[in-house]
Symmetry: C2
Subunit: 418 residues, 2 copies
């Protein structure tokens, strides 16, 4: 730690937006106003449009001055889903970093706040290292955000509870729809490397896992995470067992399911070549191909019941998972808190850090959390997976997962069946 430099602050948003990412933006602004900006150490608070891309542009098109943004407008922005500043998936290389450094210099930026996931934490780390190499004093803070919930060091990440709430509500409604007309319903959930969001489908049951056989569970009957090797034979046998007994079967499956060799099932089932992004990932979201592929598997692989092929439907939960305008209230609060905490860290002469969330109480009706700090390198690029204790067998989650996830999603409707 060293004394705090004087200059300006910049905030950026990166990666897939969430329903509460603007709460974090508002939190940083609020925290700066109460601290460094209030005391005069920070003169201007700037926003990067589309993340580091805005910093590189450096002009009015790339940067927006948030210093004087009215409190009520900031509050309305905080309640609006998706990145208000715009987002990016750009990942800076050497040349890109040089441009960011130039941008920071020309704007006298001394505090750099970057709201995003593990790729964004890595961008933050790279920027902090490159500016240090250039002996340009810049303090970089990563503010956590991802619906995938896959950041290390965090109990959970802002954005996840709201997406989990959406998935839970969707599965609750869908379970009843499936019960109304019968058949097999496949729901593909986002999260290519970590299955937390798919696991949240289990909350639609309204109770913790009882360890019952799939057909004796409340729907969803089957849950497939990327952390558990996926076998199409076992999948068909699972579906047949449930459908044979109930005449229906509701399934939640991660877009990132993999076989025992670790190879993704999605691209194998997808007809036509997948699109590859800047981070080398094949596009799974924004396409119904995995769901349709699994539905085709079931239609062709299942023994017809009484000579009649089952009704099979697949829904791929797309971008609405991360931008539904009614977030989890706890998520909104925590996303605000991590932004504010980042600004407070900067005010306390901290240098580079990643803000994290720790759960301090999970007592019934007394859930509580606090913010803390971690090294950027502890969060950057690394992926947290669903831990073993949250998984039950090959197609379910555990009681422990329910205890972990239930407090995060907020109040759920009470449904009644005949």
């Amino acid at each position: 730690m060293s004394d705090r430099p004087s200059g300006n602050a910049v905030i950026g948003q990166s990666g897939g937006p969430t329903a509460v990412i603007n709460q974090s933006l508002a939190g940083v602004v609020e925290g700066l106003r109460a601290g460094l900006a209030g005391s005069g150490k920070v003169k201007r608070i700037l926003g990067m449009r589309h993340g580091v891309r805005g910093m590189v542009k450096g002009d009015a098109d790339g940067l927006v001055d948030l210093t004087g943004l009215a409190v009520d407008r900031l509050e309305r922005i905080a309640r609006t889903p998706s990145a208000a500043l715009g987002s990016t998936r750009d990942k800076p290389d050497e040349a890109y970093c040089q441009k960011i450094l130039e941008g920071c210099r020309s704007q006298d930026i001394r505090y750099f706040f970057y709201i995003g996931g593990n790729d964004s934490a890595d961008t933050c780390r790279i920027v902090s290292e490159k500016t240090a190499d250039a002996q340009y004093e810049l303090r970089c803070f990563h503010v956590p955000k991802t619906i995938d919930n896959d950041l290390l060091e965090n109990d959970h990440t802002p954005g996840f509870p709201s997406a989990a709430r959406y998935v839970t509500l969707a599965l609750m409604g869908d379970a009843l729809d499936n019960a109304s007309l019968g058949g097999i319903k496949i729901n593909v959930v986002m999260g290519r490397n970590a299955g937390f969001l798919t696991a949240a489908a289990s909350l639609a049951r309204g109770q913790a896992s009882t360890g019952a056989a799939p057909a004796d569970r409340p729907a969803p009957h089957l849950i497939y995470l990327p952390e558990v090797p996926f076998s199409t034979d076992a999948f068909l046998a699972d579906v047949e067992a449930v459908y044979g007994k109930l005449g229906r079967c509701q399934i939640a499956v991660s877009e990132g399911i993999r076989d025992e060799k670790g190879e993704e099932i999605g691209p194998k089932l997808m007809r036509g070549a997948g699109e590859v992004d800047a981070h080398g990932n094949v596009q799974l979201s924004g396409s119904g191909a995995l769901g349709d592929g699994l539905a085709h598997l079931v239609k062709t692989g299942l023994t017809p019941k009484g000579g009649k092929a089952p009704r099979v439907r697949a829904d791929t939960f797309g971008y609405i998972q991360r931008c539904w305008p009614h977030p989890s209230p706890i998520d909104a609060q925590e996303a605000r808190a991590v932004g504010r905490y980042a600004a407070e860290l900067a005010g306390k002469s901290e240098t580079n850090a990643s803000v994290i969330i720790r759960r301090t109480s999970n007592a019934p009706d007394a859930y509580a959390s606090e913010c803390g700090r971690a090294e950027l390198s502890a969060v950057a690029r690394r992926t947290r997976h669903v831990p073993k204790e949250f998984i039950s067998g090959s197609n379910d989650v555990s009681v422990e997962f329910h205890a972990y996830c239930r407090p995060l999603v907020g109040e759920l409707p009470t449904l009644e069946r005949l």
Copy 2:
């Protein structure tokens, strides 16, 4: 009209469920209790499990006694999405009708309430004709329900406002997601024959259509209804114009879009044979194929911008549209009212009828509606399409549509952008 026979009543739910179809079930039960059942004309109120299929079964597996169902439980069921009795897509033929007649006879059913869309109204009509032919006195009432909003004689249909609310909220969030990362986003909306639900996407703009060019409209920039012939060339030109100017383009497209010959685009773009249901319809829902096909069209058909292919994503809004557990409040009220009204018609010695909704006021903040009756034959099988005055050009809806639809969906969040 003739005096009311004594006997039992039966209620069924049919076709695609909605978020408020159980409000109609509760409404019929409530109305019977206040009228025919209260006065002793109706002794038992039965529910058919899975529509007419339950009537044919006729046993405890097919029929459920609702006579003594507790009021608080009925209320909880009313607030639960999807058909509590189970639904069916069975369409009775001669032999099937004979079995329904036998079922009615053996249970002394004299009042038959069927909640559903135009296929269900037709089932109601067929049952009423066949029982009349057999000189079995049965009074049949159709209670309207469909997210497609395609029933004639009705201002709108229960189920539509809640689905329209879901689509509006989804498009609101998605527009901001699209603005955050840019690119072209295709959203496929349910409604194969009528474009009302797709048209509801326009409410995400927060304002009525101004008649501006697509790139100058708030998102969604482009809206394609099945009522307007769809040309892939015009579509590509539309998308290019918006994307070229804004670097993004949000699209809402009906699953039922058709070319100038009236042939559906979906099956043409779908690789693999479509599934055909009992009513002869090719399966469009529960598959991402149309969205993926349109995305492929755009990816391959659009001139790359600066040598870079655009980011194209497609989400197919699936069954969640009709079962999201947070309905439009007006929809919940009206769905209750049509059920109650059907029971009241029966109590007033009416014979066969279809309940309809009329709008009585569309004054700002003073929307009001009332129930009425129509002949079964006026509603059965026929499809109401989006009228010309609700359509603007080839890719938008009109000011009139906004005035029509906005009061139905309830309060919307106020979003703010930078």
